[in-house]
Amino acid sequence: MLKNRIIPCLDVKNGRVVKGINFVDLQDAGDPVEQAKIYSDGGADEICFLDITASNENRDTIYHVVKETSKKCFVPLTVGGGVRNIEDINKLLNCGADKVSINTAAVKDSNVVLESSKKFGSQCIVVAIDAKKNGDKWDVYTHGGRNNSGLDALAFAKKMEDNGAGELLVTSMDRDGTQIGYDIDLMKKISSMVNIPLIASGGVGNLDHLAEGIKEGNASAVLAASIFHYGKHSVIEAKEYLNSKGIPVRI
């Protein structure tokens, strides 16, 4: 039976791990290579690096981080943040990323997803959707949550599937950093609409939230940052908890 995945996400800035609270107020939380290794040894099913300020700054540091991490971690590594074009994707994959997540570039030009999934295969193309509720619908935000594209998140999700995305990483901007749980309504709506796996993100504050994301949000995988980073819970604890709730995980 296919297991639900737990993915610790490391927000990386200038080669160092930071924690994001609604994408501002950053704190240093250590070396990404070492942290990734600790997570993979501790049972993480995948590791995700998000290069959070990459759209604005020199991002060459991330290539070095990815290269070093891939020599030490033998679980899948997803890298996102500031991926602009096919060349960026190619570079990250060559450094050892297994999947690349595309956010702003996919909104600007959906052909990036179409072309990259054709060139590298859908298996390594993740489209990251930052969604924020405005009225009774969700809008897609870009540039690390700063700009509203005006696109409807549900329609955009479907379009990305059609364009060849292998997975969707859906982050609720309303919940990110709040620790009050995933936006279940958003996750459920998108996952029932598409046939590709959904990774739920944004808002995890306790282990029950992870279970909700999978059971109620129908997510194939759950991504979390702060509950793991500061030792509130270990990945193994999270897995044992999910297992006790009847959710299949790799233990």
Binding site: L2, K3, D45, F74, P76, L93, G166, N195, S220, A221
Partner: protein, 208 residues
Amino acid sequence: MKLSIVDYKSGNISSVINSFKEVANDKVNIEVTSDIKKIGSSDKVVLPGQGSFKSCIEALNNISGLVDELNEFAINKKKPLLGICVGLQMFADVGYEETETKGLGWISGKVSKIDNQGGKYKLPHIGWNEINIIKDSKIFKSIENNSHMYFVHSYEFIPTDKKVISATTNYSTKVVCSVEKENIFGTQFHPEKSDKTGLKLVDNFINL
């Protein structure tokens, strides 16, 4: 011992390279190459594969003499070869991803889309799944039945002769996830991304 990882410019093989380098001791010389002479003089060959069946076959054919050299290595000389993911799928006679494409024809069978029961199961089949070891394959030495391996694929290899199947995994159907035919080995899952169990399989292949 000389082991070649075939670099035929199709997809990302750095993870495969890293995993073999992690496991290999200094008696193993790992070469990442598309040079047919180097491949021909190897003791073992690893054939990775990412992207579509069609794009991988085209990429193999783009390197002059490579398919002939691989045929010579695996079929005539019967030296150990490990195919990973699409590398395994290419053993088939034919693949149906994008369009009908002729495979290497080493293990009779076809590669077709996983039947996801009309959308009941998500595709690609991504993540960790347990393998049911049904044949005592050398690459599974010291690997327990029901171990978890990492998968990411939408197409599956369906061999004609079921005796070549060494492991399956349960998804929407029983998906063939490992084959062994004499000197030819293949895994649909990614040992290079399957943590310690995957590295054990890499180690087993190196030590065949």
